[in-house]
């Protein structure tokens, strides 16, 4: 989900938490401190890149998707759509076409 939030452009940590809350309508209201270890882990994995920026005299670390991160977002979006379609079909009593 953090990768998806960053797919529209770079954000700093506070911006990521606010955007996640906004997009989910408040459903995903995480303890904000959990964002930073997750962002650092994604950066270590090569899915994000980051740099320092100064905005209104204050330093902030801004994160953006790497090329690998963009591919990962697409892969996960596809997987999620397939999963969601399958669950919807089960609840609707329908049978999805295989493949």
């Amino acid at each position: 989900m953090l990768l998806a939030v960053l797919s529209d452009g770079p954000l700093h940590g506070y911006g990521v938490t606010e955007e996640l809350r906004r997009r989910s309508g408040g459903e995903f209201d995480l303890a904000e401190g959990t964002i930073y270890p997750a962002l650092h882990r994604l950066e270590s994995s090569g899915l994000l890149v980051s740099r320092w920026e100064v905005v209104a005299g204050r330093r902030r670390r801004v994160y953006a998707l790497s090329n690998s991160g963009r591919r990962a977002v697409e892969d996960r979006r596809t997987s999620w759509q397939m999963f969601r379609s399958a669950v919807d079909a089960v609840f609707a009593g329908e049978a999805l076409e295989a493949g």
């Binding site: 700093h12 940590g13 506070y14 938490t17 303890a31 904000e32 401190g33 959990t34 930073y36 270890p37 650092h40 882990r41 270590s44 204050r58 330093r59 902030r60 670390r61």
Partner: protein
């Protein structure tokens, strides 16, 4: 905005609990500080500057111990990954150094035949006790 006291206290506690090298620790503390300041300002805007904005921002952020634990877990994972990545290289370097040391001994003792790759120090080869080290096929025992 100067850092409110509750945020200072939080950052001190987080710094105390973080197990990370200086550089990464400073980065973590700087990011958390910026976040808490922005969250405090947002609380002030949303609550008509009622007191307790910093405390509310801290409550939303979570306990310093929880944040530190997650970072420390990440640091341990990174160290494990690094050790696993470096182990083959360390083994290769040790093998190379052992081979070089063996070649050096051969070069400095042309009359000595050694089958082992283990390096025998000179004083052992010249020992009056002439122990037949299993690694040494033949060597001249000095007369007693």
């Amino acid at each position: 905005m100067s850092t409110p006291d509750p945020i200072d206290a939080y950052l001190r506690e987080l710094r105390r609990q973080l197990r990370a090298p200086r550089g990464p620790r400073r980065r973590i503390l700087a990011e958390v500080r910026t976040h808490l300041l922005e969250a405090t300002e947002a609380e002030q805007r949303g609550n008509n500057e009622q007191p307790g904005a910093a405390e509310r921002a801290l409550a939303r952020f979570g306990r310093a111990s929880d944040t530190a634990r997650q970072f420390n877990r990440l640091a341990r994972h990174r160290r494990r990954v690094l050790r696993r990545a470096l182990l083959p290289w360390a083994a290769a370097v040790m093998l190379l150094m052992t081979s070089l040391a063996t070649a050096t001994v051969w070069a400095s003792h042309p009359g000595t035949t050694m089958r082992s790759h283990t390096h025998m120090p000179e004083h052992h080869l010249q020992s009056r006790h002439c122990t037949k080290h299993p690694a040494i096929v033949a060597h001249k025992c000095p007369a007693r």
